[in-house]
Point group: none
Chain length 353, copies 3
């Protein structure tokens, strides 16, 4: 009974990686993978929330909206010609949100080998398909055991606390229009923050959107990885690849016909990694006003690969202004947290790949 | 052991249908579905042919090339916002070819309902990944029973006989450059063959191709359905949808940088269906010469949907020239064969959906 | 005050060039660049026309439609892996039209070098977002000085005169359905006009269109460059690239669900360049009638690159019919005008790149 239920929520996606999914060195963009992860996530969540087995008289059809992605590591590179296989599963359900876990493997069809490349956790909120902006209750998930349910609730509470912290003062500057992000002293000296600062501006078209006229979270993440990649390439001038995306909240949904302003800037360099902060502001062209709203804010980590495909040292970032120095120190802190978290994960999951 | 092996060859693809996948009425194009079917097919076949369990010392990596698709019916319409789920499985293996069966279901996420939309059978040939044009042996498939194996062999022999018949005299005119296909008496009278005759001309770009620089069979089928759809729209001026594609052989692979010339013409109308013949000729732009080669030839059947989503009568085709009359009679024959075949299938598989 | 205003109208687009954006030799298609230029243009113009600072009580939201592109030279090639950076700015506003200038640079991320590749001028008309076909007034632009305003007005008047000249008889054959464009004597001799004559036929889908169901001017220009590229490749059989597009008017907007018929033919060869005339006719499939309308007409100039990336001599065009000879002479005239204009530009702008 239980297993049947779980199977229904399973989603599996396979796709052959093509030249456009990758950079010149043949490495599939992290953004391509994030986009596919979100596609698996939204199918799994929407399917769970509209499952006829969960319906009662008050049932109202819902479409899931991405609100948060937990830290996502890119464990192994993926290459053109390989098959990306994604398996998504609903793993926890709170009163108004659903957790989906997605596992990504890369398969070399010619060699017959598979390797784990990503493991991602996404949070969705069911939104009414009929009434714009109305949040609906998420149906409960039968968990196979008490322990599994407890672990899920702990993950739910942790992310809720984290989101509240950011919203209520932990980092208020991110939610209002922080002008400092757009400041640019125009320094042309190499390896400075100004030098690698990059922007992408994208007009949201029909193929970026779902049936309800909103850009999918996956499209936004792909653009975010693209602008981070520009910063990394400008700073390193080598074959750079995404190593991780930190936990990221999606504050605003992006409408069809909006302009997405994406800006990326380097914040910190360790010996072999570069941290990049990415902001997404959105502006609806036909609105009477000129309001730009912060839709997403995230930190990406990039590494540089040598001709042998192994990571190599990163040129160190030159910080100049007071703000850059503060952000560098904050970046260092995040870097150390990531490192210790990864070490803890390795100990607890010896059999990951 | 057996089932494990089978599972390895299984492939599952889920994809949310977007505006780009459908016509203005929201019906997903038959061509979109054919393209996804071929994507599932090529992954399943390439995976089977490179499975390490099948390898020996002489093993050489191979890429599968589509050589034939059996008659594919579109049993039910699919809509934007639904999830297409495709399950592919290798079902037979001959010395140099592999049969893949793909089942397609459409899932309405909001209602939680699923329905079978297609069942397709594709034949692939493993080609050397290193040496252009070299056909490789296909590894054997362990069949669950003697009966299953016999049935597979019968399908294999039947399609081989069919392909030989066409090649050796059954309809040689299709393989050489038949000028009559390009003839157009320029009649502007509505409902004639000339009136709805349509062409598409497409430059084959990188995203149409696999890593080896060949257009995937799925891309070609999508374009074929597109040109057939133009013919049907011109003839009916209503919401028209693909009802079936007859068994189709792929004579030539299409190279990156080629121009695909697709032409479609109406050949026959029954009360509620329109048969359209589609030719694909290909021309490699950078070749010293100007040779056009026939790559594919197929028959599509379209139906017209009324505002209630049900099929409605089709305006009858006016045939004028001698050739048009002959093709009309041939079309009538195919129409009756399809009808009796479908009736036979219904009797033998009462529980399909 | 002034500078703030200017900044608001600025638009910046950065995009990484991918395999799909380029030909087999890695040169980014001129059409890709024209498409991005138009994207920058439409954002700048639509933003200007909906700027709250310009609004009064009668304000009505508008979408900008491309009506004209001034001659656009491709000064330098761009390659896959480079970042295209486009900066657009509204530079003049007439009562019902807006001028946008776009500067394009290519940045080699690995070398850290940037070079100017294009400088384009586009004219837009604000159309009502609510009422189809209604032209709206364009808000005025505060110009930094009297001289700047005068120069803008002069450009506005010059293009208006040019458009009126074409419309009123200067070149009437271009605006009506000129059958001679479709005539083909079927000559198979190489280097003749017939031999390299090329067509593309494209069904306009949702991703080609804006939110209002009209193909963007950029999509049309990309297809135009594609068909011109086919002509050039057939004539030269080498690595050919776009050198310029002459000033081009957009007579008709192209609807979603239309078929675009693009035809290109060689008109003139100089020692190192090939001029190609491109016609775009459009036909709305679901219309009761079969009317094809001329949407755009343009002249492209192509050059041929040798293995060292430098231009090389072009095989001379063999003109045969009376019409071909007349068009050759007209082409020669345009060639000489372009040459003298470019020489004049060089003198007046010594510091362009």
């Amino acid at each position: 009974m239980m297993t049947e239920n779980e199977d229904e929520c399973d989603v599996q996606i396979c796709r052959l990686m093509k030249p456009d999914d990758a950079n010149i060195a043949g490495n599939v963009h992290g953004g391509t993978i994030l986009k596919m992860i979100e596609e698996a996530g939204i199918i799994a969540s929407t399917r769970h929330c509209n499952n006829p087995a969960h319906m009662n008289d008050e049932y109202e059809p819902s479409v899931s909206a991405l609100v948060r992605v937990e830290t996502t590591d890119f464990l192994q590179p993926m290459f053109i010609g390989e098959v990306a296989e994604l398996r998504g599963k609903v793993t926890y359900s709170a009163p108004h949100s659903v957790e989906v876990q997605v596992m990504v493997t890369a398969e070399n069809l010619l060699k017959g080998t598979k390797r784990l490349t990503n493991f991602a956790t996404l949070w969705y909120v069911p939104m009414s398909a009929d009434e714009k902006g109305k949040v609906l209750p998420a149906p409960p998930l039968k968990c196979p055991s008490k322990d599994v349910e407890e672990a899920g609730r702990a993950r739910y509470e942790a992310q809720k606390a984290e989101r509240r912290r950011i919203g209520l003062g932990g980092r208020p500057s991110l939610l209002i229009k922080s002008n400092d992000f757009y400041d640019d002293d125009g320094s042309s000296e190499t390896l400075t923050v100004s030098h690698s600062r990059s922007s992408l501006i994208h007009l949201v078209g029909p193929s970026d959107c779902n049936t309800y006229g909103y850009a999918s979270g996956g499209v936004t993440m792909k653009l975010m990885d693209e602008v981070a990649g520009c910063v990394a390439a400008r700073h390193c001038r080598t074959n750079i690849v995404t190593a991780s995306m930190d936990a990221t909240n999606f504050h605003k949904t992006v409408r069809l016909g909006s302009i997405c302003h994406l800006t990326g800037r380097a914040t910190f360099t360790s010996n072999r990694s570069l941290e990049i902060e990415v902001m997404v502001d959105t502006e609806y062209l036909l609105a009477g006003s000129d309001v730009r709203e912060r839709a997403v804010h995230a930190f990406f980590t990039y590494v540089s690969l040598g001709p042998d495909g192994r990571t190599q040292p990163i040129p160190q970032l030159k910080v100049q202004t007071e703000g850059e120095k503060i952000r560098y120190e904050e970046g260092k802190l995040r870097y150390e947290q990531r490192k210790s978290k990864r070490a803890a994960n390795k100990q607890s999951k010896p059999s990951t790949s």
